[in-house]
Symmetry: C2
Subunit: 326 residues, 2 copies
């Protein structure tokens, strides 16, 4: 079985749970808007990671399904609200929620998904003490994701962004939800707090590698693979890690040219030139190196777990997350 097939198999009970919860009720507009993005697809990486982690510590991953579905619901709530904030029109190859249902209903749909996530956790067939622990952890993580999104918004008004600040932003905005998946899966699987926190750290590092790779892909992969035009981050002038590293590494002339392309209306030709600058100064290679660096620690943590189907799948997933698209 290919990794894609294995992931699809793992994602099936998650999709079933999402479809069960997100059925259309009255008022229909609200519930259609709530289901729009979560049921438009997606690889379900976070919930799948929760299930695999649960199995890896010897637990029954069936018990982790509602929690895993809750994480996917949280992820989608943040996507719906982020698209409103960034006024992005497309998501997962479909129109963004606010594009179809308007600003007010999109805000409410995000809130509805947020609420559903906690209903799912509360509905889980797990001990109340673990439920309470996961509620606390997920609520805390959501607040941290909001911090990450606020940092991202702040960056738009700043002249320069340091590598360290950027990494903290993506850690909060993207990576820690992977961490929460592993933590929750491990706790439901019956492991100790200490081991669950180690697995959380491991998955957070995987999430960091994943996001850096995402930035990398945006500049290097084809439109066919991305599902959106290549170089869209550059077109929008975003300070991704690629750009930050290029601004550090490029010589004066190239740096000025890069800033000029980022900060003004730019053509496809300009975007290609920016990618060339980013490549030639070594920033592309540097990001590739950093993405892989985050995985080394993760690989080491994984190697401590008993060999078997779950660990093998996690290792495959990890490699996929920083090689996909190439």
């Amino acid at each position: 079985m290919s990794l894609k097939e294995k992931l699809a198999l793992k994602a099936r009970p998650i999709n079933d749970a999402l479809e069960k919860y997100l059925k259309i009720r009255e008022p229909k507009k609200l519930y259609k808007a709530s289901a729009h993005i979560p049921l438009a697809g997606g690889k379900r990486l976070r919930p799948v990671m929760a299930l695999i982690t649960c199995e890896m510590v010897g637990g029954d991953s069936k018990k982790a399904i509602p929690f895993a579905a809750a994480l996917e619901t949280i992820h989608n709530f943040t996507l719906v609200h982020d698209d409103v904030m960034d006024d992005d029109d497309l998501r997962h190859g479909v129109d963004a929620c606010h594009t179809v249902y308007g600003l007010s209903t999109a805000i409410l749909a995000g809130d509805t998904l947020f609420a559903y996530a906690f209903e799912m956790i509360a509905d889980s067939d797990i001990e109340d003490s673990i439920k309470a622990d996961l509620v606390k952890n997920v609520a805390y993580i959501v607040r941290k994701i909001a911090e990450g999104q606020q940092m991202d918004i702040n960056f738009e008004e700043e002249e320069t962004v340091e590598t360290k600040e950027y990494l903290e932003m993506i850690r909060l905005k993207t990576s820690i939800l992977f961490g929460a998946a592993a933590y929750g899966g491990a706790k439901i699987g019956g492991t100790t707090e200490e081991e669950a926190r180690e697995l959380e750290q491991m998955a957070t590092n995987v999430g960091l590698g994943f996001q850096i790779w995402d930035d990398y892909l945006d500049a290097t992969a084809s439109e066919e693979i991305l599902g959106k035009p290549s170089g869209s981050d550059i077109r929008q002038g975003k300070r991704t890690l690629l750009v930050i590293e290029a601004l550090n590494k490029a010589d004066d002339k190239e740096r000025k040219k890069l800033i000029q392309i980022l900060d003004s209306e730019n053509t496809d030709e300009d975007v290609r030139e920016a990618v060339k600058i980013i490549d030639e100064c070594g920033a592309l290679e540097e990001c590739h190196r950093q993405a892989n660096g985050y995985l080394d620690g993760a690989r080491k943590t994984l190697s401590k777990y008993p060999e078997g189907e779950a660990r093998e799948l996690f290792e495959e997933l990890l490699e996929y997350m920083v090689t996909r698209g190439h």
Copy 2:
């Protein structure tokens, strides 16, 4: 001690908890925005109701403080998002969150408050089984509040709104959070599920009376009492219960005049004429009757509890909620 003083005394530990949780962290803009409306004041009616209910069933209301603060936080999260949706500029006599911090940060601030509420519940010094039950109930209630807000948005596009639909909208949007306060307070106080549900129903009815009275006040109280110009619902053409009843009761000529005032640019003179129509056709009296009607059942439920400080305060609070401003 006056009722106002008694309420202020009950609200003190709630305010302390809110101040403790909502302290300013990095990124400051997000946390300032999150604290802006909750720390701008308010009577804390929902959390106070949770504490009083806890005491009324013989519980220790100290244990209910984090839960009560969570409800106030939920209430404020919905205010922040509603103000974005309705583009209202003022709230509790201060600028709305989005007016000061912008749309994106206001959405994030609402999300942050939502997350904090579940952290507060998880932090409570109560049994895990009750924690899990309250998480489930509050998450469900938030989803229902979103339904109510969506109904309110839908009404703006409808020609006519039926009394029944309007009451269902305010039940969801406003009343059930009072119900959740009483339910949670009662559960923390150690009572049975059955009794807690009865108290939830009682407080939901108080919430209905409260909201109808709010609509009533908007047309009848002075600007000094309201903290905003009198008749602002009419000025905005809102179909409140007053207007719905007036459209049912008024004769053809008055109904046409009222619709004309509601649906066009209107002067202070127009608003006064609308209030006159609403009064003379008996709609004002009808709303007063309905608001009080919701309280009769509530009074009856309360009378079953042992006499004492808690019950007395609840009775006073109930009367205040549908007589305030007159």
